[in-house]
C-alpha cells in the first residue's frame, strides 16, 4: 500500500470520525422532553421531564372527576382515572416526542411535545 492510498483511507476514516463527533451531538446528549397536560383543550400543566424532577403525582380535575397523572424523569403516565374504560391508564408510560395518552371521557390529554423534529422509523 503506497502513500496515496494511505492518505485516501485516512481521509475517509477522518470523515467518519468528523461526522460522528463534530456534526451530530444528538448521538451523545439526551434532549429533555416536555410534557403538556390539557383538559378540554386548555393547557393546565406544562413541565420538563428531565433529571431535576422526582417521581410525583399531579391531580387534574376534569368533568367526571379527578385524574391522577404520574411523572418521573423521562416518562409520564395516567395513574388513575374516573373514566369507565380505563384506556388511558392501560396506555402505560410514554417517553418519546409525539406520544399521547388520551382520556376522552374525562377530557384529559397528556402529550409529549416534539421539542425537536424526530423520526418514527426509516424504511427502504
Amino acid at each position: 500500500m503506497n502513500k496515496a492510498n494511505k492518505i485516501l483511507i485516512a481521509v475517509v476514516l477522518a470523515l467518519v470520525l468528523f461526522s460522528y463527533w463534530g456534526f451530530f451531538p444528538a448521538y451523545r446528549e439526551n434532549v429533555p422532553l416536555t410534557a403538556v397536560i390539557s383538559v378540554n383543550g386548555d393547557i393546565v400543566v406544562q413541565l420538563k421531564l428531565d433529571e431535576s424532577i422526582s417521581k410525583h403525582f399531579i391531580k387534574v380535575p376534569g368533568p367526571l372527576g379527578t385524574s391522577v397523572v404520574e411523572v418521573k424523569p423521562g416518562a409520564i403516565r395516567m395513574k388513575s382515572s374516573p373514566c369507565p374504560e380505563h384506556y388511558c391508564t392501560k396506555t402505560g408510560w410514554i417517553d418519546r416526542p409525539g406520544q399521547v395518552v388520551a382520556c376522552i371521557p374525562n377530557r384529559v390529554i397528556i402529550k409529549i411535545s416534539p421539542d425537536k423534529e424526530s423520526l418514527d422509523a426509516i424504511s427502504h
Binding site: 500500500m1 503506497n2 502513500k3 496515496a4 492510498n5 485516501l8 483511507i9 475517509v12 476514516l13 470523515l15 467518519v16 470520525l17 461526522s19 460522528y20 456534526f23 451530530f24 444528538a26 448521538y27 423534529e117 424526530s118 423520526l119 426509516i122 424504511s123 427502504h124
Partner: protein, 184 residues
Amino acid sequence: MSLRKQTIIAVLLSLAIILHLFEALIPIPFPIPGVKLGLANIITLLALVLFDFKTAFLIAFLRTMLGSLLSGTIFNIAFFLSFAGAISSTCFMAILLFLLPPIFHHDDRGFSLVGISIGGAAAHNLGQLAMAALLIKHSGIFYYLPIMLLSSIPTGFLTGLILRELIKYMKLSGQLEIQQWNQL
C-alpha cells in the same frame, strides 16, 4: 465509435445490470439498510480503466436506468438514491484515476485500483445520502453518514480486489492490452 467498442460497451453494460440485480438478492448480515457491496461499481471502474470518463459515465447512467427498470424500482426513492450514488462515485473515481496522479509526480505513487474503489464507494454513499436528505427533507438521515462511510472501506476494498484479479486475468489470457483498448 467503432463497432468493436460498441459491442464491448454493450457487454460491460449487461454485466453491470446483472451485478446490479444480483446484488439485491444477497442478504447482508448487518442490521443497517442501505449498506451493500456495490458490485456494479466493479464494471464502472473497469470501464474507466479500459476506456475513458465519458464511456464509464454512460455505462453507469444506463446501468442505473435499465437495472431499476428491470427490478421495478424505477423513479422511486431507491432509484434516485442509486442514481445519485452511481453518478458521484463515477465522477470521484475519474478524478482519482486521471486528475490526481500527476500531483504525485511518479506513476507508481498514484492510487491503486483498490484505493480508487474505496474512494468510489465513499463517494457513492455520500452522494446517496445527499440525495436522501434532499428527498426526505429531514436532517435525521445524516445519522447514517458515519456508518455508511465506515462500511465503504471494507466494501470498496472487496470490489477493488475483485477488479484487480479480473484485470490480472484479462492480461494473462491475452484479452487485454490496455493501450490498444484505449484507441478503439
